[in-house]
């Protein structure tokens, strides 16, 4: 298995296929990534490569991180993530990983951080139905309802309640690649991708 790629979500649009179908796509600016560290079986116990993406102002990177980049003679980059690979010796530090590792029609797995919704009620967070709106009901419209049985004399762990929603790491599997644009480093995938515009997106080859 080869490494995936890091990208940034740009937004959504729709494009026409050759058959005239109009399909919704998410545009992701992916790569060029640079290989920073390589991990191998003998030394680290597993094979992986560390990829960095996106230029960044050096002042905004902390000194220990700059030290890590200097060790592998790579300019500091904004994002850094590790990818499992079969053989890390195929890669070398400073090597470029570009979006051409994927092609049209491929299936990919996508990981990113979803949009934060703050402290959300049970209706929004767990799709509860809420209380009745009529028949003399009062002040019980968006409530959670029952906390459970009375003979348990406690509320079970994992009871769906209001709380923080969103800002989660969300993985999506088997997403179709609609178009790859090597010149502009763009990858277009079918449908939506979690997160706001500008969110870092990890695009993996399917296992």
């Amino acid at each position: 298995m080869g490494a995936g790629i890091l990208g940034e979500k740009i937004g959504m649009t729709r494009i026409f296929t050759k058959n005239g179908e109009s399909i919704p796509v998410t545009v992701i600016l992916a790569g060029p990534c640079r290989v920073i560290q390589r991990k191998n079986l003998e030394k680290d116990g597993y094979n992986a490569v560390q990829l960095g993406f996106k230029e960044v102002n050096k002042k905004k990177v902390s000194k220990p991180i700059i030290g890590h980049f200097n060790k592998f003679k790579v300019e500091p980059l904004k994002y850094m993530r590790e990818f499992k690979v079969d053989d890390s010796n195929k890669y070398s530090s400073g090597m470029e990983v570009k979006v051409d590792i994927f092609k049209e029609g491929d299936k990919v797995d996508i990981i990113s951080i979803s949009k934060g919704k703050g402290f959300a009620g049970a209706i929004k967070r767990h799709h509860f139905s809420g209380g009745p709106k009529t028949h003399g009901q009062k002040e019980y419209f968006r409530s959670v309802g029952s906390m459970g049985a009375t003979d348990a004399a406690r509320v079970f762990k994992g009871k769906k309640l209001p709380g923080h929603m969103g800002s989660d790491r969300v993985s999506m599997k088997n997403i179709k690649v609609v178009k790859v644009d090597l010149g502009r480093n763009l990858i277009l995938v079918k449908g939506s991708v979690p997160g706001a515009k500008g969110t870092m997106v990890i695009i993996n080859k399917i296992v």
Binding site: T13, R14, K18, N19
Partner: protein
């Protein structure tokens, strides 16, 4: 950073498209793929609305077929539309001609614009 979405949408635009406006009588030549065969279907009627802009632009064509009103929405920049022929220019006072749906007979027609 360039506006990639704008760039992608501009690439979808057809270079040449016939110019028409709501009220015009048009003929749409639509490619239809059935299995491996491809044929062209013609739909003739009055353009009653144009919506959206850029690569997402659509238009609605209305005709009355055997006493039944038929409306079809086309995507202007779709590769399936082979050509659009403007037969008659219409004189209208508004951009959306939805009032034609409630009209029968002569009042359901649009006056022709003569230049």
């Amino acid at each position: 950073m360039p506006d990639y979405i704008k760039q992608l949408e501009e690439e979808q635009l057809k270079k040449e498209n016939s110019v028409f406006a709501p009220g015009d009588t048009v003929e749409i030549y639509q490619k239809i793929i059935e299995g491996t065969k491809e044929r062209v279907q013609i739909f003739k009627g009055i353009v009653i609305a144009k919506k959206h802009s850029g690569s997402k632009e659509t238009f609605t064509v209305r005709k009355v077929s055997k006493g039944v009103g038929v409306e079809k929405i086309f995507q202007l920049h779709s590769p399936n539309i082979a050509k659009i022929v403007v037969l008659k220019k219409g004189k209208t006072r508004r951009a959306k001609l939805y009032y034609l749906r409630n009209r029968v007979g002569k009042s359901s027609t649009v006056k022709e614009k003569r230049s």
